[in-house]
Symmetry: C2
Subunit: 343 residues, 2 copies
Amino acid sequence: MNLKKLSTLLGLSQTTVSRALNDYPEVSEATRKRVKDAARAYNYSANTRAKGLATGRSMAIGHVIPISTQHEMVNPVFADFIAGAGEIYSRNDHDMLLSVVADIDEERIYRELAAKASVDGVIIHGPRANDPRIKLLQELGLPFVVHGRTSDEVADYSWVDVNNRRSFQRATEFLLDLGHRRIALINGLELMDFAQRRKDGFLAAHANRDLAADPALMVSEEMTEDFGYRSASEMLRRALPPTAFLVSSMIAAIGVRRAIGDAGKKMGRDVSVIIHDDELSYLPNGVEIPIFTAAKSSVRLAGQLCAKMLLDIIASGDRTPHNKLLETELTLGDSTGPAPEGG
Amino acid sequence: MNLKKLSTLLGLSQTTVSRALNDYPEVSEATRKRVKDAARAYNYSANTRAKGLATGRSMAIGHVIPISTQHEMVNPVFADFIAGAGEIYSRNDHDMLLSVVADIDEERIYRELAAKASVDGVIIHGPRANDPRIKLLQELGLPFVVHGRTSDEVADYSWVDVNNRRSFQRATEFLLDLGHRRIALINGLELMDFAQRRKDGFLAAHANRDLAADPALMVSEEMTEDFGYRSASEMLRRALPPTAFLVSSMIAAIGVRRAIGDAGKKMGRDVSVIIHDDELSYLPNGVEIPIFTAAKSSVRLAGQLCAKMLLDIIASGDRTPHNKLLETELTLGDSTGPAPEGG
DNA sequence: GTGAAAGCGCTAACAT
DNA sequence: ATGTTAGCGCTTTCAC
């Protein structure tokens, strides 16, 4: 079924049928109803490509998922982010175009997306210091929203970010208040902006109490489960092992948990850094070594906000930077548990 | 830059330029080179929608990601599956269209994808018994490949599946050979085809040795971490707790591990059900309670195969069912560890 | 080996 | 309130 057939069937012109379906005001209500009923009856939907060609818009948003060349690994938070964004897109009749691409090839992909005009805008993930993608997209004139920020640039682009610094500062303060003095920070690659901010928060919490964070307890690498396992195992074998872990990713936290189990320690309560009143991603259990991880729910929310912001920008044609900093909260469950043995 | 401008620039007709770029044989090599160089220089790529409109093909594959209405949860294996499929698509100049949709709305989405002609084919995930989507897509004439199978239908559709039955049978046999007699099966919802097959394999392994599987050690539910934690905790509190766990999902396995830790048991060696010579997803450590999970690598491979099969089907126009059963192997690491205490 | 022209299915001026 | 027409950017006969 296409517009031509449908309009012949109805004894109307293509124009009128098109206008009726797209809610143009000049069409009479009687006609509109007749047209819409017929469209439903014949299961008619306008051909995406023809519509896009005529309007010059694709009604699609691109997400470029860079896959680590080293580990062939997809960052698992994408699943939740994508789910959040996808929800917004389908609610606004937009499609989501996914490009899974080796992180080396990212620039080429953006150029292609722009040249082929296959999307109206893109979402950028995991910005790095002085990220070249931002300049590129501005040059290409392709609207975009960054999930995260890069510290070293002026804020001349739109972004949505979790307040990483503050949430890690508070998480650290929470552990310090419990009496922990040897807190390990298992962090992401420091060239990633979020890892840098989280570390800042971790250090600030110590500094505010005139304590020194032990550099030997701070590691940063690509966040694999193996990395969590290796680094935590090594730390736990030391004469003075850490009494708590602050872990920057869920995946690495799995490895950390395994290491704690192997070391014969009890698993700690998981405390999540969460947004608003969203639920905990882990249930609490007996506290001995607390582990903090970022909650899935916040990632999903970030996906929704990025998507909404980008659609707004595209619809309004307004290219002045928008941004949104998501404040997080610590949710601690019903009891804070005992202080660590060695003080 | 578009074809018209490019051809004027070159002093050629649109036709010739188009033919040169699309490797039509009748164009002279000299012209082809000149055209391709110019295209690169001006960063020209054919507009996706115009090309699609002219050819009647979208060069895009749809993936409908159903999100559980109960848990608002995305099955995390999608990340790896998508990564595998995406790799194949980009290698073949296809786009991937993702629709994240409440599982209730799936049918509507398929109808729309077909009506709007926004994709050339789709991949179906997580087939259930007598899955209505299969009939629907056949009716719509939209080419598709199913990731998984439904047991109750004749094989008149194309699918790619892991040999779930056999891999779980072998995993169970491995545990039985180690001396385990109380093996827990933490399984997915039994209305999902894969869960049914895995259970079959589990039971077959017992039956082959004239052993009876304890029904109280077999649970099935939507595979959340919480489910893994709850069910394993409960089982471990019993007078006769299980000595090994066979877990149907990585996420649930995290919960199971947590429960094992809480119960004061040591974490088991992780043994993965893997395909071919792909690497282990977990490193082995001290054995006490073995846990089996399906490896991520197999999911990625399945994504690649589904994608490749679908592209082949579309290219050839051949609608006779193709299928592929992926055989799995157990990789056991370097030692099998001690038998369980209570035999 | 190259070009002219029609047409893919739709929207958007411009009539009426 | 409805219809006519041109055109979005490409591919594809058909002609030379």
